[in-house]
């Protein structure tokens, strides 16, 4: 149906993707209960059986109950500014989430250190490309290479690497992905691929 509706703009095909999306959203909203119940069940079992790390399970249960009770007690406008739910969201959830995201900076540094070690020809090529792109993206790059002709300055070199070799590589991957998606979809549609349905 999704394939057909892409080629047929006429009603009812033009509405089908919206209908399916709506139904999927409804099913998802109902399914969240399954997830929440599963989380509670496993956490409660962990606490009762005093399994290793049961203290974390207590935090999960307490947080879950706290946010659920506050959200339900504040009625329809529970997300309005000034509510307890909003306070918890802004001053507890958001900082926690931002902290996790901020850790990414340190992980990028450690991963870059590992990736850019010049162990072989490919890694050396990667290191050089990364060096020129990084230095070409900051003002100091053009200051260092200011004596060179306009086209050979580091900022232009960085742009060239990003526009040509990088884009070409990425497009090659994207073409492969698109074909892979079509092929997998066809296998699923034809019933050849049933592993995700716990089939053969």
């Amino acid at each position: 149906m999704f394939v057909i509706q892409y080629f047929i703009p006429h009603y009812p095909f033009n509405r089908m993707s919206h209908w399916f999306s709506d139904w999927f959203a409804i099913i998802l909203a109902c399914a969240i209960v399954l997830g929440a119940l599963n989380l509670m069940k496993i956490s409660i079992q962990k606490v009762i059986k005093k399994k290793p790390g049961w203290g974390y399970a207590v935090v999960i249960i307490a947080s879950f109950l706290l946010i659920t009770i506050i959200g339900l007690s504040e009625g329809e406008g529970f997300r309005e500014p000034g509510t307890w739910f909003d306070w918890l969201y802004v001053y507890v959830y958001t900082p926690c989430s931002s902290t996790m995201f901020a850790i990414l900076g340190f992980f990028v540094a450690s991963a870059s250190y590992r990736a850019f070690r010049a162990r072989n020809f490919e890694a050396t090529l990667l290191l050089l490309a990364a060096f020129f792109v990084m230095i070409g993206r900051v003002p100091v790059g053009d200051i260092i290479s200011g004596f060179m002709p306009e086209g050979a300055r580091l900022s232009n070199l960085a742009s060239w690497i990003m526009t040509f070799p990088q884009t070409a590589g990425q497009r090659a991957i994207m073409i492969g992905i698109a074909l892979g998606i079509v092929s997998t979809s066809l296998r699923v549609i034809l019933g050849i691929e049933r592993a995700h349905l716990a089939g053969e």
């Binding site: 703009p9 969240i32 073409i175 992905i177 092929s183 691929e193 995700h196 716990a198």
Partner: protein
Amino acid sequence: MKYYPSTSARFTAGFGCFLLALLFSLFSLSVLAQEEPAETDTASLSVTPDSIPLEYYPLPPTNVRVKDAPNDAGGSIDVQWDMSPDDVPEGKVKQYRILRAELIEGQRREFIEIGDATAGATLFTDGNTEDGLDYIYKVVAVNSLTQNNEVVWEAATESMPAGPVRSSAQWFDRQRVNALVGVLLLCVFIIYFITRARAGKELFIRKIAGLEAVEEAVGRATEMGKKIFYIPGISDMDNMQTIAGITILGKVAELAAQHETWLEVPVCRSLVMVTAKEVVKEAHSKVGRPDTFHEDQVHYLTDDQFGYAAAIDGMVVREKPATIFFMGEFFAESLILAETGNASGAIQIAGTAAPAQLPFFIASCDFTLIGEELFVASAYLSREPKLLGSLKGQDMGKAVILVAILIGIILETFDIWSFSTLFSVID
């Protein structure tokens, strides 16, 4: 008795009047001097809405054409026109205004304004029509002067009316013929090679290091007596990468069940949890070990992206699994997860079709399935002819694209651009 003023009294009164008139004139002049702007457009002062000189009126647009907007679901009409001769830079046309009138039972209703277009435009799409109803259109060239966001004067000339026209929905989007041809061609290749594979034809599939290492990774966990973590990404079951990830999960779960190794699947979507649970359960049954399956193996954590990453990082740090699989769609959390796994010393195999996350996985994991390799994993691991045939068809599609790219490069080098337009896809 009448009173007659004396000569001196008359003189005094006359002089007083003169002085008053003089004072009034001076006062008036001073007020006028204050009200007059520093820079005055003489045209704006000399032209009022009631008296706009004829030379301020632009020539009207000509040759107005109306037609049903093509390749749509109805409800739209395209109005096209030839620009007014006065529509030149710094010319008299400031904008075009589009008027529409309904035609009901042969009677034309009043023209109403339905939109406008900037000077230089020659097309307007009226996206608010009722299918089956006749409409007549006019295009108006407008010249105007605006000061302080207020229109001082406006001179407009209308085109001849065009129509009637009615909108309708189409049954096929002709702009997508190329996409249809491409999909059909790919389907033909895939079905052809599946048929060949079914007939027993041997098909060569190149080695994929990441998939070759799956068995070794599971074996390592068995030897070390530690867990295997399987992370199926953070997208839901409507995503093809998640489906591919779940498919690979089945193969990994079979191996883990055979080796009696604990496979843990923390998920962040309820539907993925339900599906993964069934897949792992089935895998245990398939290898004759249904008793080794535990409901807790597949469990839900949270829908939140960084909450999920934090939970998995915590589990990895505490439990130190021997092997971690990342198979599915990942976003910014990819590096947070992979670097934590790397620091814990686990062997890591990742697979994703998210191009932005691939460098992170390549940097942090031992093996990475790049893009399409994620989708071939199921066929590669099962070695089932039907599935392998589909891979061959996929490769054939890739060969066609490669040839098209080469032809495109050659033609565009020689300044022939029309070939590449065959591949443009309009959303």
